[in-house]
Symmetry: C2
Subunit: 160 residues, 2 copies
DNA sequence: GTGCTGTTGTTGATGTGTCATCTATCAAAG
DNA sequence: CTTTGATAGATGACACATCAACAACAGCAC
């Protein structure tokens, strides 16, 4: 077997990209999260759940379907829903057709929360990211997202 | 005063970039974090601290300087160092010149940990990000990082 | 019916990040 | 020397994510 050969360290250009990814990009997320919390009292996780439910039919969704749509684990979603339910912005309901299943419903408070939060959140995203970059840069970000979507979304055969 | 005018929602192109940022980019971090944990038993946070200390003079650094360099809050770093100290990979030491201050030092175990982990980690970063993108795309990522660095690094006067 | 297997959703333990708060120290002004 | 304000760092409470169980039910075999 080959002993660990000298690894291919990152070139300077690659290091710059990785540094940006690792040190700079999180600052944007933190800034947006802080705004969201201060403006609307919501976490990013709250907002994600609320916005998906907000555009769901009847403001309700099967829990497992919600988890799958968001690419969240059932556990993560369950914990999150417990916290949100305690704050009265969502409600769990048993579903008749399947004794195991349950649905989440947006309460009136929840609808109000997402309605109020959305414009402020968009503004924050613009302030900290979208309006800061050029259309070309945004285009490349989207492009990178596409590459990753294929890498992760598509089923793979072997180890990579 | 102006009532909240209709917010500037994101264009389709902007949405694509934001979707990539929000839904796809974290997948890369998760994949790399999983690799790192399986290969070396370290978290990303562990690795970040270790790698900075590893290239620091004398494998030691003033805690506040480390926090600033990494763009971490003192609190976050303090908690992280407590956990790492309990596992014996770093050690805290009081500094003579300032009664308040403290330094972190890499233990021998810590040096071994980062030395062993580095090649595997670089390979993982290549596999999941660097080698997946074109040089042009990497260039733009670095460029975006520069924009953000100026936005967040530079002291600001007013609200933005 | 009884048993087996997969699915749904919850829970508890643990590691992590944030915020507010606290102590100790420094530095400068009086 | 004392007060005053800033700084270094630690800490406790809480929100969040992951993992490994776990209970309850569905669906199918027999």
């Amino acid at each position: 077997m080959t002993p660990a050969s000298e690894p291919r360290w990152l070139t300077e250009a690659e290091q710059a990209a990785w540094f940006a990814w690792r040190r700079m990009f999180p600052l944007v997320d933190a800034a947006i999260a802080r705004d969201l919390n201060q403006d609307s009292g919501l976490s990013e996780a709250d907002y994600d759940v609320l916005s998906v439910l907000g555009s769901a039919d009847g403001h309700r969704m099967r829990i497992s379907a919600l988890a799958e749509l968001m690419h969240w684990s059932r556990s993560r979603l369950s914990h999150q829903l417990t916290r949100m339910e305690q704050r009265g912005i969502v409600r769990r309901e048993d579903v008749a057709t399947d004794g195991r299943g349950a649905e989440v419903v947006l309460t009136d408070t929840g609808v109000a929360a997402i309605t109020d939060a959305a414009p402020l959140h968009v503004a924050s995203v613009r302030r900290h990211l979208v309006d800061v970059l050029t259309p070309q840069q945004l285009q490349v970000l989207a492009e990178v997202g596409e590459v990753l979507r294929h890498r992760f979304g598509a089923p793979r055969k072997g180890r990579d």
